[in-house]
Every structure is written in structure tokens, then in C-alpha cells.
């Protein structure tokens, strides 16, 4: 609270107010005495101590006069802009891209003017019309006085003694135990928020004989459909094109290489499982082993597969081994084969979990 005093706006301090009644008791039906009807002090009784804290008028009345005109104009502009906002809302139709952008322009601009004009007006009002003042308020230390602390300590101790909280340990300990129970119980009810993971992260829907469908056109693929080696194609398991939960794990990329480009896996050096490829076509999981973004970028000249999220980079010729970035494991390779009609199929699910690492992965 402010430490200013001497103003005739002051009411008597709290204590004084309690000591004497504010005015004579009123008889029902009679008009209240004039003094009780107002918060204004009695000017006569305090006339000698009138000290203003704030000047009544502006620092420069002439400038203030001009500023007033500007502020009035700004407030009027704001009102007009608000009306324009309503008119634009009613008059401008949407339902086309142009319509939406026109409406957005009209509504946004009128709104900005409606708010901005009031803001500017009020700012000028404060700066030019209100007199400049600088008041000083005293700051008391936040710590209470020693007396107040002692009184508090007494109250606190008395309460503790009366309740017996300190003296009756069983009461205290069982209450604490009960609180712990109350805190634990709500945790249990969160159990049904989801199923347990089980081994679901270890498998995808890919199984022997399932066709690879080009994502988008949803057509199966024959090795002969690849005219030239090079580009990367996204494929999904046949029949699951619209199942996002399946796609989040089973989405796969296939790349065709020229003969001899693929580096076979050997005990000495990680590489491609050649018996899982068909006609130099290799398939890898599209789900990054870092945090699960789709590895959507492929550079033909370097055979690098790049994840656009965190730039984990995999060498497509060497079993998608990591060559840069935060991913720690190669993209799992999908075993490929062809069915009786010559279409590309999986010959098994991925042999290892796809996507980001997890504790139980092993």
C-alpha cells in the first residue's frame, strides 16, 4: 500500500473507523445524512492539509488541447473500424480460396485498426494530456517483525498442541500413510489408457506371400517394371493401404541397383543380405531407426538414403548401414521374392523390429 499521506481524499485509518461509527444511525425511511452518502471527505475539516499528489491539469495545456483532438479522432477511427469489421463479416462470402483471403484481409485489417487506434490514442493521452508525475513509495522489508513472528509461532504452536498432531505419533503416521494411499490409487485408474505393448513392436503385418503395393497408385510391382536402376519407390503391404497404424511400421522402400552394385553381407563387413533381394532389388524399412520419421530422401549418385528429420544417412548398397547422423542401427531389410504371377512379395516379416529403439528391443 502506498505510503503517501496528507491528501484530503484520505479516509481515516482502519482503527479509527472501527472506533467511531461512520455516521448517526439512520431511521428507516428518512434520507441518509449527506456525509454518509459520499466517499468524498469533508472539505472544511481538512482544508488546511490539502496536498495534491497529482497535478490537476496537463504540463502543457496548449499541446494537450491538440493532443485531445488527435485522440478523439483515433478513438473515432477505432469505432469506424469496428463497424467495418462487422460489415466485412456480414458482406464478404468465403467458399473459395480468394474469398477466404479477401475476408481475412478485411477482417484482419479492420481488427488491427480498431485495436491499434485505441492503443495509439491511449498512449498519446497518457504521454501528453496526463501531467508527468514521479511518486515515491516506501518499501518495507518483507520479513515480519520479531513480535509478529513470535505471535505467529505462538498461534502455530497452540494449534499444533490442541490438535495433538505432534504428541500422537500413531495419528500422524497413519494420516501420512492414508495420504500416500490416496495418491497411489489414482495412478491405477490410468492403467486402461492403453494396452500393454507385449511384443507388438517386434512385428509388422508383412508375412510370406504378401504383395508389395506401390503407395499411391496401389498397384503391385514386377521386377521387370523397373526399366532402369535408380529411383526409390515407397511400397506398402497389400490390403493395408489405408491403415495408418500398419503403415507407421510396415512402410517399406525398394530400390533397384545395377548388377554388382550391392555389397553383400559378410562376417567381416555389414552389407546387403543378397538372398533377400530379387534381381538386384532391395527393400528396407522406411521408418527411421532414430525416432521413426519416414526416410524419404534418396540420392542416386551416392546411394544414400537420408532422413529429412534429423539427417540420419544410410548406405543403400550396404544393407542400409548408418554412415552419418544420430541413428544407431541400419534400416531393417525386408526379404523379397516373387509370386506365381511374377509380382514382388515378401517372403517373411522383418527379422528384427523396425523403427525407433526401445528398452525391450534387446
Amino acid at each position: 500500500m502506498s505510503e503517501t499521506n496528507g491528501s484530503h481524499w484520505d479516509l481515516p485509518p482502519d482503527g479509527a473507523e472501527q472506533a467511531e461509527p461512520r455516521g448517526p444511525y439512520r431511521v428507516i425511511g428518512t434520507p441518509p445524512p449527506a456525509q454518509a452518502r459520499t466517499l468524498l471527505g469533508d472539505a472544511d475539516s481538512t482544508a488546511e492539509v490539502v496536498v495534491r499528489e497529482l497535478p490537476a491539469g496537463p504540463d502543457d495545456p496548449r499541446k494537450a488541447k491538440g493532443a485531445e483532438r488527435i485522440v478523439v479522432a483515433l478513438f473515432t477511427i477505432s469505432l469506424l473500424a469496428s463497424i467495418a469489421f462487422i460489415v466485412a463479416y456480414v458482406a464478404l462470402p468465403l467458399h473459395s480460396l480468394d474469398g477466404v483471403f479477401r475476408s481475412n484481409l478485411a477482417l484482419g485489417l479492420s481488427m488491427a485498426i480498431a485495436f491499434g487506434a485505441v492503443a495509439m490514442g491511449a498512449a498519446i493521452w497518457v504521454k501528453v494530456i496526463m501531467p508527468h508525475v514521479e511518486l515515491v513509495e516506501a518499501r518495507k522489508p518483507l520479513a515480519s517483525t520479531a513480535d509478529a513472528r513470535a505471535a505467529f509461532a505462538k498461534t502455530f504452536t497452540e494449534g499444533a498442541e490442541a490438535s495433538g498432531f505432534a504428541k500422537r505419533p500413531m495419528l500422524r503416521r497413519t494420516l501420512i500413510a492414508a495420504s500416500a494411499g490416496l495418491a497411489l490409487a489414482p495412478l491405477v485408474v490410468l492403467r486402461d489408457m492403453g494396452p500393454l505393448p507385449g511384443t507388438s513392436l517386434r512385428h509388422t503385418v508383412w508375412r510370406k506371400g504378401m504383395r508389395l503395393i506401390v503407395y499411391g497408385p496401389n498397384t503391385p510391382l514386377r521386377p521387370a517394371d523397373f526399366a532402369v536402376p535408380g529411383q526409390m519407390i515407397t511400397v506398402v503391404p497389400d490390403g493395408y493401404q489405408d491403415n495408418l497404424d500398419v503403415l507407421a511400421k510396415a512402410t517399406t522402400i525398394i530400390i533397384k541397383f545395377a548388377p554388382g552394385q550391392l555389397v553383400p553381407n559378410t562376417p567381416q563387413r555389414y552389407g546387403t543380405q543378397m538372398n533377400w533381394t530379387v534381381d538386384n532389388i532391395v527393400a528396407y524399412s522406411k521408418i527411421c531407426t532414430h525416432v521413426g520419421c519416414p526416410v524419404a530422401l534418396y540420392e542416386e549418385t551416392t546411394h544414400n538414403i537420408l532422413c529429412p528429420c534429423h539427417q540420419s544417412t544410410f548406405d543403400a548398397t550396404r544393407g542400409a548401414a548408418v554412415i552419418f547422423g544420430p541413428a544407431a542401427r541400419p534400416l531393417p531389410q525386408l526379404p523379397l521374392g516373387t509370386d506365381a504371377q511374377g509380382y514382388l512379395i515378401a517372403t517373411h516379416d522383418y527379422y528384427e523390429p523396425v523403427g525407433p529403439s526401445f528398452w525391450e528391443r534387446g
Binding site: S2, V136, A138, T234, G325, P326, F358
Partner: protein, 562 residues
């Protein structure tokens, strides 16, 4: 009767009869608000939050937090007939079929960005001026919680439309959650109601985004404001400013009008941005699909440091006893921001412990007068900044034609070396600025005028330091009392209590570093030189100084000095 008399006589009496407000409200109206541009930063955050509540309420009237698949039939032709979640379809409807909907979405989005930006800059201001010191530690901690909640609130908010970009963000979030050792898989399955993406996450994030976190934010912001009000504002050093007063303009009518204008101004700026600067055009991204992504996808700026930390990390992963520990994911997700937030939360207490300074502080430090604090702050900014830039490394590599892998390697070194360098440079700059201040206080303001004395000697003419400047420069140089226990040992070589043992020695060392500075002469404007400012005053100049004194106005108001 004037307008005010009428109001007091009618409404005033009615209210006071019932609420007894004349005393307390009068105090409130006369509350003094110190003025400084940097005090507006917190207000920007507050008002952005109010605008977020207003626009967010509007959006909830039309948004459908559902992952049920529908076929789109709205006004946006390119996506007609496309299967998508109801969440995405209703966001398209808000943008194209609800009048003012696009504007509200954009204001909501811009306000969220402004909210986070303002909190960041506000926190930096509080840190660099030492405004977190006793008695305001609670408010500092509340602020850190507010910032963390704001990050989560923003992340969940931009996940709601279920467009390709937001779904990718959610996928990364899920991958990070899944990487947490022991509990990660379970946590992810419970949060998403099964495998990613499932059908539960958007409704769940929705209730967290519109009810849970805003409720917490509102409660904490109220506590933040109440404490600030109760403990009164800090103020910048200046003429008449002391640790036991508040100098400024009263709440009524000055601050009321100013802050009202400021709220309207922020609303106007956000409306302008939302009119002309498109943000998050979800219709261009398409509905979420776990097999699709766009190159160059970036998170919002307040998530950039986390994203950068993920990108910068080395591919470390352990397989131990049948378990996978993906250090490459959960370390960058938890450690860098953990260091910053935990460090920020502990710093006030660490500083108080090291310096033994248990006084209340209501006058802000100038950053240069606390060189170690300022240097640590700059080191933290550098650390965060490198991670933040690395979060956009693909864009930077593309724009500046730097190979991507090279850039990441630069960042890997810079994130360690950058903060060290920033600490050292900042500390040097602060001490240099202190020397400059000391010089000005000792010798007056340089005028650039060289005068030849009758003896043939050249001197530079200086002006006395203006009173306001002197008050600012001297505060915490002159007013700061000697810290308790600042002497490591007494005259007999007996160490002061609390300075022995390993902890005590660490404390002494920390105090030496934290309180490092360039001292002034005891009288504040003598003719001496601070430490490390070798005396270079010749006898003749010394004599002239003693006669004039830098602020003792001699005949023409100029004081000769060296």
C-alpha cells in the same frame, strides 16, 4: 456534481458499503509502477496469453478433436474427396468455411509464438539484471515452470490439426518417449492408447491443451502476478532510487492507461501479422500419413533447440543384458534443456550460497556489474543458440551452401567450445565496461577537446557526470555494502567459518569468481584507479585533478583531466 463525485457518491458508496474497499483499493490505485522498457516484456507474455485464451475459445467452438476418418467435402478444392481425420477436416473448415476462422487460427498461432518469445526474453531480462534475487526466487521458479508448460502447450497445440507436419512432430515425440529406458514403451502405449498413431492421441492432447495446461498456466500466472504485486516491482538504478523505495507513476490513472494501450497494441500487432503473414497453412501440407514427409520440415522456434540436440547427437546405443539403451535419443531429449532449466532454477540459491549475500534486492543490477552472472547467461544463450541453429541445419546448409555433415560437425564442437568462448569474452567485456564506468566517474565525461595549458602541457577537457548518469553508474558500486564473510581469513590467519573443508573451499572459489569486478575508489569519485587499471597519471595531472575534481564545477563548468 462532477462526473467523479457522482461515481463516488453512487457506485463508490454502493461498493464500499458491501466490500470495505476504500482503504485497500486506494492503496491499489496509488501503487507505484517503475518505468523501464524491459518491464514490458512480461506484459507481452501476459497479454499474448489472454489473446490465446480468447482466440482459443473461439477455435474450440468449431474444432473436432477426433481421429475418425472422413472424406473431405469442404470449400478447399485440392483436398476434396481425400480421406482424412475429422480433426484435420474441421481445421480446414475453420480456415475456409467459418468466417474469421482463418484469422482466429492465425492470431492464435502468432500469439503462441509471441508468448514463448516474450517469456524467453523476459526470463533473460530477469536473469541478467539479477531480478531473481531474494526475495523473488519463488517467482523465478514459477517462471521456469511456466516456460516449460508453455513449450508443452505449444507442442500439443500444433499437433492437434493432424496435418502432415504436425503428425511428423508427434511421431518424433513418440519416438523420443519410446526411447526412455525401462518405462518408455509403456508410457508411449498408454499415451497413444496403443501403437502409434492410434485413434486416441488427438482427443487426449486436446483435453490437455484446452483444459489441463491452460488451467495450470492460469493458476501459475495468477500466482506470478500476485507475488510480483505483493513484493512490489524491482527498479533500475537511477537518481533517487534506493533499495527501500519504489519510484515511478501510480497505477491510477497512469499505468492503467499505459498497460491497457499496450494490450490493445499487442492485439493490433497480432491482427496485422495474421492479416499479412501466413502461418501454418495446414491445407498445403495435407493430412497426416506416417509414410509421408516433406523435406525441410522444421518445428516451431521454441522447439528448435530440442530438435537440434537430436540432430547433433552421435549414434550411441547400447545393448546390455537383453535391453536396448538408445543414448542417441533420450540424452539429447532430456539433457541439454535439463541443464538449462535445472541450472536456471538452482542458480539463485547457488549464487546466494557462494556470495553469502542474504540481503533483499529491489534495485536491478546492470549486467556489467555482475560479470560472472552475465557471462554464464551468455554461455547458456550460446549453448541454446547452437542447438537452436542446428535444429535448422538443413535449411542453413541449403541457404549457405555448406555441406550438411560439415555443418553438423561444426555444431558438435561449437556446442561445447562456443559457451566457453562466450563466457570468456562476455566477462572481459563486462570488466572493460566497468573500467569505462570507473573512468567516467573518476574523471568526468570526455569532451574530445584538448587544451594547452600556459605551461605548454596538453590536457583533455571533461564535463562533470550528469546526476542521473552518476546515480546509475554508482549504484551497486557505492551502495553495495561489504558482503558478509567476504574476508577469507582474519588477521591471525584463522579461516572464516564456512570456508574450510572441500565444500568451504569450493564456496570460497565460487565467491571469488562471482564477485570479481573492478572496484571504485572508496569515495566513489576520487582520482584513483581501479584494479587492473594501471595508474598513468603524471604528477602534474594529479595536481590538476585534485584542484578541480571531476564533478566539482570550476569556473567554466569544465574539469581538466588526463
Amino acid at each position: 456534481m462532477t462526473l467523479t463525485e457522482k461515481a463516488l457518491d453512487g457506485t463508490g458508496r454502493f461498493l464500499d458499503d458491501r466490500l470495505h474497499g476504500a482503504v485497500s483499493v486506494r492503496g491499489f490505485l496509488r501503487k507505484i509502477f517503475p518505468d523501464h522498457w524491459s518491464f514490458l516484456l512480461g506484459e507481452i507474455a501476459l497479454y499474448s496469453f489472454i489473446i490465446l485464451l480468447l482466440t482459443g475459445t473461439f477455435l474450440t467452438l468449431f474444432f473436432q478433436p477426433s481421429m475418425t476418418e472422413v472424406v473431405y467435402h469442404g470449400s478447399y478444392l485440392p483436398l476434396r474427396g481425400v480421406r482424412m481425420s475429422e480433426a484435420y477436416a474441421s481445421t480446414l473448415d475453420i480456415s475456409f468455411d467459418v468466417r474469421g476462422g482463418l484469422l482466429m487460427r492465425q492470431i492464435h498461432h502468432w500469439a503462441a509464438l509471441l508468448f514463448m518469445g516474450a517469456i524467453m526474453v523476459h526470463m533473460l531480462r530477469i536473469f541478467f539484471t539479477g531480478a531473481y534475487r531474494k526475495p523473488r526466487e519463488f517467482n523465478w521458479l514459477i517462471g521456469i515452470v511456466l516456460f516449460t508448460l508453455g513449450m508443452l502447450e505449444g507442442l500439443f497445440g500444433y499437433s492437434l490439426p493432424d496435418d502432415l507436419l504436425s503428425g511428423t512432430g508427434l511421431r518424433i515425440t513418440q519416438g523420443v518417449i519410446q526411447s526412455i529406458p525401462v518405462i518408455g514403451t509403456y508410457f508411449s502405449f498408454f499415451l497413444f492408447g496403443g501403437p502409434f498413431p492410434g485413434h486416441d492421441i488427438i482427443p487426449r492432447l486436446y483435453v490437455i491443451h484446452v483444459l489441463l495446461i491452460p488451467g495450470l498456466l492460469l493458476a501459475l500466472i495468477s500466482a506470478h502476478l500476485f507475488l510480483m504485486f505483493h513484493q512490489k516491482h524491482t527498479q533500475m538504478p537511477g537518481k533517487g532510487v534506493t533499495n527501500s523505495n519504489v519510484v515511478g507513476a501510480p497505477m491510477y490513472p497512469y499505468f492503467m492507461a499505459k498497460t491497457g494501450a499496450f494490450f490493445f497494441f499487442i492485439f493490433a500487432v497480432l491482427a496485422l501479422l495474421s492479416t499479412f503473414a501466413q502461418v501454418n497453412p495446414i491445407w498445403l501440407f495435407g493430412p497426416y500419413n506416417p509414410s509421408g514427409i516433406t523435406a525441410g520440415s522444421q518445428p516451431y522456434f521454441y522447439m528448435g533447440a530440442l530438435e537440434g540436440a537430436l540432430r547433433i547427437m552421435l549414434p550411441w546405443e547400447w545393448n546390455v543384458a537383453g535391453h536396448t539403451i538408445p543414448f542417441n535419443v533420450f540424452i539429447p531429449a532430456l539433457v541439454p534443456l535439463g541443464i538449462i532449466f535445472t541450472g536456471a532454477a538452482l542458480w539463485p540459491f547457488l549464487e546466494r550460497w557462494a556470495t553469502g549475500d542474504h540481503r533483499e534486492h529491489h534495485v536491478n543490477d546492470r549486467p556489467r556489474n555482475a560479470p560472472t552472472r552475465t557471462a554464464i547467461g551468455m554461455a547458456a544463450i550460446t549453448f541454446y543458440g547452437v542447438l537452436w541453429l542446428e535444429g535448422a541445419n538443413d535449411v542453413i546448409a541449403d541457404q549457405f551452401q555448406i555441406p550438411l555433415f560439415t555443418l553438423t560437425w561444426i555444431a558438435r564442437f561449437a556446442v561445447i567450445l562456443g559457451p566457453i568462448f562466450a563466457y570468456w569474452v562476455t566477462k572481459r567485456i563486462c570488466l572493460g565496461l566497468q573500467r569505462k564506468d570507473a573512468h567516467v566517474l573518476e574523471h568526468g565525461v570526455e569532451t574530445g577537446i584538448i587544451r594547452q595549458l600556459p605551461s605548454g602541457e596538453y590536457i583533455e577537457v571533461t564535463r562533470p557526470v550528469p546526476e542521473q548518469t552518476r546515480a546509475t553508474l554508482e549504484y551497486n558500486r557505492v551502495n553495495a555494502p561489504e558482503l558478509p564473510r567476504s574476508a577469507p581469513e582474519d588477521a591471525d590467519g584463522v579461516p572464516a567459518p564456512g570456508t574450510t573443508g572441500m565444500l568451504g573451499r569450493a564456496r570460497t572459489a565460487a565467491r571469488r569468481v562471482i564477485t570479481e569486478g573492478i572496484p571504485l575508489e572508496a569515495d566513489g569519485h576520487g582520482n584513483g584507479h581501479g584494479d587492473g587499471h594501471p595508474a598513468a597519471v603524471s604528477g602534474g595531472e594529479q595536481h590538476a585533478l585534485e584542484q578541480g575534481g571531476p564533478d566539482g564545477a570550476d569556473g567554466d563548468g569544465h574539469t581538466p583531466s588526463h
